[in-house]
Every structure is written in C-alpha cells, then in structure tokens.
C-alpha cells in the first residue's frame, strides 16, 4: 500500500468515525445518557405545569478529565448514588401529588472554563434541565454563573468554596459545600470547648486565594471567641524552606497553630516544626493533614495533627442526631450511601467529601422541589433559602446570598495512625487528643491516643 492510498484510507476512517460519533444516539453509549432522550422528550418541561412533568432533569458540566478529574469522578458517583436513593428508595420527588423521578445529564467539561459555558448553554437551552450543578473549583463555578443567571436556571454549587462567589450579586446560585471561611471554625470551637485557658493562636499559611480566604474566616472567628492572634504570616506557593517563618512563629509562643495551604507545604510545615522542636497544644493544617499520604510521609510525626474536612467516611450523622438537634432527616445512612456509591462507580472505591457534598445537593434539591411543589426557578430558590435539614453529609442551611451556613466542617486528627473524627460532637468517632504529644515524645514513638 503506498502512502497516498494509506492517507486516503486514514482520511476515510477519520471521516466515518466522526460521522458515527455525530450520529450516535447518546443513550446507546452509556446507561446514564438515557437522560438525553428524556431531555428531548421533555424539551418544554420548564414551561409546563409541574403536574405534567414526567422527569426532573439535573444537568452537570462535570470535570471528568483534566486537573480536577479525581474530584469530578467522585462528584458524578455521589450524584448517581443519591439519584438512585431518591428514585428507588424514596420513590421519587413528590410534585403535584405524584412521585416524579430525577434524571441526570452530565457532560465532561475537561476542567476547562471554555467548555463549562458551552455545556451549560446546551444543558439550559437544548436539554432544558431544571437545575445545573456546578463543576469543581471556585473559578469554574464562577465561569458558569453568568450563563445560568441569564437563563434563569438554578445553579447549585458543590465545588466552589470561595465566599467571593456570593458577594457578586448572583440570584440563583446556592451552595452546598461549606465556604472557605468556615474551614477552621470547628477547630476553634473545639479548642475553646476543650481548653478555655488557651488564648494565643498563630496563623501561618500559603499565599493563595484559598488559604487566605480560609484564614480570613479563622481570624474573624478566633477574635469572636476571644483568642488573641499572636502571629500571622504567609509564605509563597512552592516554598521549600519554612525555617525562618517557623523560627519567628516559635518566638511568639502560641498555644496552637492553624496553617497550611496544600499537601507539599503542609508536610514541610509539620516536618520543620519537628526539626525546630516547636511544640504547641494543637496543630491544624488545611488540605494536607486529612490525606492518608500525609501520615505515610511523616509517620509518627503526624500523630495528633489535625485538619478540617467537609466530610469524612466514618462521620456519625444519623436520623437520631438530626432529631436531637431538631432537624429534618433525609437520605441514605452513611453505609447505604457508600454501597450506592460503589454501585454507581462500578468499583471498590470509598467516597470522599466531593461525592458526599454532591449527593447532599441532590437531597437538598429534592426537598426544595417538594417544599415549593414546583420546579420553577424562583419558588425552588426561595424554598432552598428556607430549607434546613440533616443528611449523612451533615447539616444544610443557606443564608440570603445562597452561601452555605448550616454545614459544619469535621475535624480529623491522626491518632495511632488512624484518622479519627474529633469534632463536631454529633459526628465524632473519637475524643480529641489535646494537647497533642510533643515532637520529642513522638520521636520516641509516643502515639496520640485519647483517654477513656
């Protein structure tokens, strides 16, 4: 075969491939793509009276590839698991006296902003979804907001933690993930409750949008609780030596430290504190300390170190806890959710907080539609504003801007090589070890083990 014939053959193959892909009905590609057909059938759904609806459509520009692919895979699995529960266990969404199933349409936005707007445009105008779930990250969530606002579609945010999203005046955006400013509130509450004598706090964190927002909330909450901020300094991204900063921090003699930014600097922070022998009663590091790799890298030096998380496998939120605090309960138990999640992703995979918050968002939308008895954007948005409930993910409540205020972060502490949820009390799987062992004790093999 000469080159010319080969090239022509390749061209024909490529052309046929394109045509086949273009002509393919989405439902034949994957089971969840059945939603496409449903979308076409119910193209005018939002304009119909609620009683005429045969499906409620959730659209999602998911991050299934690109830099947020891991978070995206978890979110899609969480949404499918929650849909499974709503449709098959709960029986569907009660709307106009009938039970209406939820259906999920998602496309891959490749973690790229250009794709987010074009896919939301399609979901809003062609698929005519009733609600759009945001992609992962504050940037991508912001990218989609003007399109959903212009199309008057509810936009639910389970991936963008920046408080700034809710300072822009968007009407139809509602958050499920806790805002960045809430990350250390639980940690501070815990220390206040455990050790009323502790007064001095040091803040040392990465110079990034996320870490700054987290510490803005921590600073404000610490002052509200009567703590004194004796040290506050940032360090640049990609830092390789924190000894000058930590030496200055040591001189301020804090009772406890809140810090971090990403995994690498969090690990460095902990390691160099050990090198310099800086002992405090508590150390909480965002983004790093909750990861198994943190303990694998630091082994015993990580004992007693804490970190905030939106949700961790093992939390004790239950119908009984909901009753105790006077909240409505909805959704599967944690174990049921894990089983549904594994079924949805088709493999042995433990859901993380990305999956849990996306699933909780489905439950929030379900309750809001039932409360409003409508799928129209304004009544559902108003219902979401009034809604408070608890699920396996924890509490749910939003303020007037749509920002999440009802969900409490959980604080995780490394105890004897295990991640133990130590705060809030309604979610805890163990008592906090406070003060944590000193680095000298840890070097001799002492573990952080809570007393009975």
């Amino acid at each position: 075969m000469n080159l010319r014939v080969f090239k022509r053959l390749m061209l024909i193959v490529a052309a046929v491939g394109f045509v086949l892909i273009g002509c393919q009905k989405p439902e034949s590609k994957a089971p969840e793509k059945k939603a496409e057909t449903a979308a076409e059938k119910t193209a005018a759904a939002p304009d119909k009276p609620a009683a005429g609806l045969d499906k409620i459509l959730i659209g999602h520009p998911a991050c299934l590839s690109g830099k947020y692919a891991k978070a995206g895979e978890q979110a899609v699995g969480g949404i499918k698991a929650a849909l499974d529960w709503v449709n098959n266990t709960y029986g569907g969404v009660t709307l106009g006296g009938r039970k209406v199933p939820l259906e999920y349409i998602y496309y891959d936005c490749e973690s790229a902003k250009e794709a987010v707007t074009s896919l939301i445009g399609r979901l809003a105008m062609s698929d005519k979804v009733h609600v759009v779930f945001s992609p992962y990250s504050s940037g991508l969530t912001l990218r989609g907001a003007p399109v959903t606002e212009a199309n008057k579609i509810l936009y639910m945010d389970h991936g963008g933690a920046s408080n700034a999203i809710f300072r822009q005046g968007f009407k139809y955006i509602v958050q499920t993930i806790g805002p960045a400013t809430s990350y250390h509130q639980g940690t501070l509450n815990m220390i206040k409750a455990t050790d009323p004598a502790a007064k001095k706090v040091a803040l040392a964190y990465e110079d990034s949008e996320f870490a700054k927002m987290v510490m803005e909330g921590a600073r404000e909450h610490a002052r509200k609780l009567g703590f004194e901020i004796v040290f506050e300094r940032t360090y640049p991204k990609g830092v390789t030596d924190l000894t000058p900063l930590l030496s200055a921090l040591k001189a301020s003699n804090p009772d406890f430290i809140l810090g971090g930014g990403h995994f690498e600097d969090g690990q460095l922070f902990n390691r160099q504190m050990a090198d310099l022998g800086i002992d405090t009663k508590a150390l909480s590091l965002i983004a790093a300390a909750t990861l198994p790799a943190f303990y694998e890298a630091l082994t015993n030096m990580a004992e007693g170190v804490m970190g905030p998380s939106h949700w961790e496998y093992g939390v004790k939120y239950s119908e009984r806890e909901a009753k105790k605090v006077g909240l409505q309960w909805i959704g599967p138990s944690q174990d049921e959710f894990v089983a549904l999640f594994k079924k949805a992703v088709g493999k042995e995979m433990i859901p993380d907080y990305h999956a849990a918050e996306a699933a909780a968002q489905v439950l929030a939308y379900t309750l809001a539609v039932e409360k409003a008895n409508s799928v129209e954007v304004d009544p559902v948005r108003a219902a979401l504003g009034d809604l408070t409930f608890m699920s396996f993910y924890g509490g749910w409540d939003v303020d007037d801007t749509g920002m999440q205020v009802g969900h409490t972060m959980v604080d995780v502490q490394w105890q004897n090589g295990e991640r133990v949820i130590v705060w809030p009390p309604e979610a805890q799987t163990g008592k906090p070890v406070y003060p944590m062992p000193t680095f000298a004790e840890k070097a001799q093999g002492k573990k952080a083990i809570a007393g009975m």
């Binding site: 394109f18 892909i21 590609k29 490749e110 896919l119 939301i120 445009g121 399109v147 990034s208």
Partner: protein, 332 residues
Amino acid sequence: MNRVTQYYPILPVLLAYAILFIVGQTVSGTWQLVATLLFYCAMGQAFNIFLGMTGYVDFGYVAFMGMGTYGMALAITRLAHLPGLGAVVIVIGFGLALLMATLLSLAVGAVALRLRGAYFAIATIGVNEGFRFLIEGARIWNGAEGMIFTAQLVNIVGSERASRLMTYWADVMVLAIAVLAAAVTLFYMRNRVGYALTALREDEDAAKVMGINVTKYKIIAFITSACFAGLVGAASWALKTPYVFPPEVFEIHYTVEAIIIVMLGGAGTLLGPIVGGLIYGISKYYLSIFLPGLQLLVFAPIIIVIIVMFPEGVVGVLKNRTRNTALGRFII
C-alpha cells in the same frame, strides 16, 4: 492582481464568521458553543500572525492573553467607584489590555527574538510561568488571591447589561477581534511586512543578506500577535468571566491549544486558524458530550490522523490543490 482582488481572500473569512454568528443566533442552545468556537478561532488567528508568518514557536503566548485579562480587570476594579464613567471603563480596559500586552511583548521580544528556532522556543517557555510567579510572589495586582469583579461590573453598567455583556456582547467582541486579526493578517500578507516575513520564514540568513531587517519585522509580527492576544484575553476571559486567578490566565495549556489550532488549519494561511479552531472546538465539544471522560482517548488519534493527512494543515493542502483555479484566489 489589482488592489481589490488581492483582498478577495477576506470573503471566505467573513462568510465563515457570518455563518457561525447566524447559527449561534438562530439555533437554540448553540450560542455558548459558538462563543467557544469564536474564542478558539480568535486565539488561533492572533497566534498565526507570529507563528504562521515567521515560523517561530512562542511557548509564552498565553502570557499576553493573561496581560490583556489583567488590563481589563484592573480597569474595572480600579475605576468602578468613579461615577459617570459607565461603559467607558470597558474602552479604557481594552486600551490597558493593549498597552500591557504590548509592553510585555516588547520586553520579551527584545531578548528572545535575538534567538532562533529551538533556542527561541526554550527562551519563551518560562515567560508565562515566570510572570505568574512574579505576580504571585511580589503580590502584584492582588497576587495569588486574584480578583473577582462581577459585582464591580454590575456597578458600572447595571445588572441587566452586565448579564448581557458576560453572556453575549463579550462573545461579539471576540468575533470582532477575530475578524480584525484576519484583516490585519491579510494586510500584512499583501504588503512589505508579509513579503519580509515570508522571506525570513523560508530562510532567515538569505533574507538578511538581501537587506531585510529581520529583527524589525519579527518584532512587528510579535507585537501585533501579542496585541490581539491581549484583546482576546480582555474580552473572553475578563469580560465573559469577571475574575482573574494567576494560575488560570497563565496556563501553558492555552498556548498548546493555539499551536494545535494553527497547525491543524495551516500555519501562515489566512483561513487556517478558522478551520483549525472549528475542527478543534467542535470535536472537543461533541466528544465531551457523547464520550464524557473518554473523549481525549478518541480526540488525540483524530488530531494525529489529521496532522498525518494534512502536514501543511487542512487549508495548506486545500491551497495547493486550488492553486491556479478560480477558487484559488479566495484561499490563501
């Protein structure tokens, strides 16, 4: 060829953009897709002025888009509180975007354009990363925190207009920038600048011997390309998405996309960036819909096949095939 007929190749460009615009306006749910395609076409069109016409590969190209984004962001955030300026702020923003992209291109060009080929490419690789770390490390323009300015935009033009600006007019501006970039490309092609650039692209030493000031023409192409990149950044990133985070606007991924678009369509051709932008954008869009999560596995072989089939780009091959035909005068 008289003065009018030599500009005939602009007609298929205008036709292509007109069709895109009409499709976006008339087919429900396609405007945001058209906006994305326009972004890719405009980015390719701007990059083609330098890559296509000189043969130099600039890996720091996205930095100019980033500077344009910052130019618009600074105008909006710093002037939003001034009463009575209204939409003038947007005009100032475009002016600032142009100025900042020009200054950066002058600084980069003065150093890097003394180098050739692979050395030039290597010298430019660090531009976007270096600039990003400068902004973050020195805490310039809010440093790593970036800026979110939807609220300020609403203050300036009002809620309804801001919404329309972010979802429609910003895209129309990108269309205008793409058309303007194509017009400038054609103007260069038909003038001394284009002849000089063609000569240096084919053999820089020979061009030099013939008395062409190659550095001057390279800088002209470099600055022109950077200016259009700055305008694309200002419209498509700052106005369409009123926020700027350094890691997002200095992401090398966009430079790679621009290179693929230009090579797919045909480097140095007028119609190439449009064809490349459309093939690239449409393939990505439909594959992400029909094969979510798996599209890159299919997309990469498609790109390889097209590059193998059309080593000079789709328009490059088409141009050779239609040479000396009636159609040939429209395809360059």
